[in-house]
């Protein structure tokens, strides 16, 4: 089994399968997952779907770098990051982060760290597609920039 995995894909993923995959290591007592979903409010109230663009090549590199940073801070047996791209209707999952550790505090902290850094350092861009068919690029949020402050 590949302990540290990064995938960028159009297809849906199965959170349960990914969690189970990291649960087979008998040294791991704690597995934490984060699912990010397309919500009905972002900048606007009438979002029907997202269009996700990324920078192929740099994306995978950035996600592996983020995982390396997490491994330097916490005891981490395994981690998976899956990020979808393309057209994602309301309610669909966008991103999955799974971390496995012997210690629940490490698994929690690493998962939150990976999400915070992914949101500010991985080259993905969301375009919101509204019910009337119009679309606009989502602006970066100051709160995401602030979120990484506490890890420094």
């Amino acid at each position: 089994m590949q302990a540290f995995t990064v995938r960028v894909q159009q297809e849906r993923f199965d959170s349960g399968v990914e969690i189970d995959r990291l649960s087979h290591n008998p040294a791991c007592g704690a597995v934490v997952s984060f699912n990010g979903l397309v919500r009905d409010y972002g900048d606007r109230q009438d979002v029907a779907a997202l269009q996700l663009e990324h920078y192929p090549g740099m994306t995978e590199k950035a996600l592996h770098t983020i995982i390396e940073q997490a491994r330097q801070r916490w005891q981490l047996q395994a981690a998976t990051i899956i990020h979808r791209v393309g057209h994602l209707p309301l309610g669909e999952a966008i991103v999955l982060v799974v971390t496995a550790s012997s210690h629940r505090k490490d698994a929690f902290a690493a998962a939150e760290f990976l999400m915070d850094f992914l949101k500010t350092e991985a080259p993905f861009w969301k375009k919101e597609i509204l019910r009337d068919g119009s679309a606009h690029w989502v602006e970066a949020k100051a709160s995401d920039q602030h979120a990484i402050g506490r890890w420094q």
Binding site: Y55, E121, P123, W125
Partner: protein, 83 residues
């Protein structure tokens, strides 16, 4: 010196192109931006000094004083919004 330049998201839409090959003497990211701004219109507007955008050299984020080399892949894009 030849650069491979990539644009993403809002910048790709605004410039009407996702990539270009550029023959330039710009020695740093800063000098490259100055050259691009001289195209006027959307270029000067989107890449204005106060505007929020990021630059990656060979797929790693760099500061504006980063040096450029022949064959570098330079990407210019808005702050990321994934996850």
């Amino acid at each position: 010196m030849k650069l491979n330049i990539l644009y993403f998201a809002r910048l790709k839409d605004s410039f009407g192109m996702g990539s270009e090959q550029l023959e330039t003497d710009a020695a740093s990211v800063d000098e490259l931006l100055t050259e691009l701004r001289q195209r006027g219109d959307n270029w000067s507007c989107e890449l204005a000094a106060g505007k929020a955008f990021r630059v990656a050299r060979n797929q790693e984020l760099v500061r504006l004083d980063a040096a450029l080399g022949d064959g570098d892949e330079i990407a210019i894009f808005p702050p990321v919004t994934g996850g």
